[in-house]
Symmetry: C2
Subunit: 169 residues, 2 copies
């Protein structure tokens, strides 16, 4: 799929067929994550691929949008290592860039996906940390729910001239 | 350019030809930014396109990597509106997703680009805010320096098995 087409037609997909995602496609998507740029090229990410429904069910009880963890065939958790990148803003941005690459790679591979953010509250992080057995230096940033799509939302043109400024505000 | 190829071959470009970027290409790149997903679909971004060298020179004196602002033909500043999205972590992540889309769109359009992060220190934000005349609710997240590339860094395979975990850490 052409790059600009992939960017323009990618939409969040939240309904999935009951059909497994091929291991090779997961590898392609992870590779796309690793291709994202990072601040000072430190690459602080870790990716946790969740297929085990027991782990996902336990996690999904934690809070908020974590209930989405049981949707789809597969979930990729994106984390950052505070010992590699000390600045939280860059862990979040590096994680988001990897997520965006993975969403585009999934879409170009014919899969559907939705990005679920994780708020930075400590208690929420703790609720995620235990079931995943995350070490204390590992910050969970977001997760992606992936699968073969059973909905195909139409592309939208979101260009908004009022949010584009020339040379100053 | 094929999506997976664009993701795999995109590298940071910091050296540029003395040749203007076409207005139409800037529009394509901005459109790509607007196609990125955002938390709760709030789309808190604002994009400031800088071509005026006087504004860029003033800004570049501010601090750190802002010196890069005078490179390239064109700079796109990515900001987020705190009145639209109150959570700073999501302003940063939404901004980063838009940046990544724009970097890929630039690469697919034959341009080179580099992502420059902005640390969240208040004094740095103030230094950026004044020359750009940003209102107090607008948070600068990052900027992209864009131009016709005069260097063509080789793609690198950055897949790192030690950073991929299955079902738990």
């Amino acid at each position: 799929m052409d790059t600009l087409t992939a960017i323009r037609t990618r939409r969040s997909v939240r309904r999935f067929e009951d059909q497994p995602v091929e291991q090779e496609t997961i590898r392609t998507i992870l590779e796309a994550g690793f291709c994202a740029p990072t601040a000072r090229n430190l690459r602080p990410w870790h990716f946790i691929v969740l297929r085990d429904m027991e782990v996902r069910r336990e996690l999904s009880k934690a809070a908020g949008n974590l209930s989405r963890l049981v949707d789809g065939d597969c979930v990729i958790f994106v984390c950052g290592d505070r010992e590699v990148q000390e600045r939280e803003e860059f862990i979040l941005e590096d994680g988001a860039a990897a997520v965006q690459n993975m969403l585009l790679a999934a879409h170009a591979s014919g899969l559907g996906a939705v990005w679920c953010g994780i708020r930075t509250e400590k208690d929420l992080h703790e609720a995620v940390r235990r079931p995943l057995q995350l070490p204390p230096n590992i910050l969970p940033v977001a997760f992606i729910v992936l699968g073969h799509p059973s909905e195909h939302p139409e592309p939208k043109n979101r260009y908004d001239e009022s949010k584009v400024h020339w040379d100053r505000w």
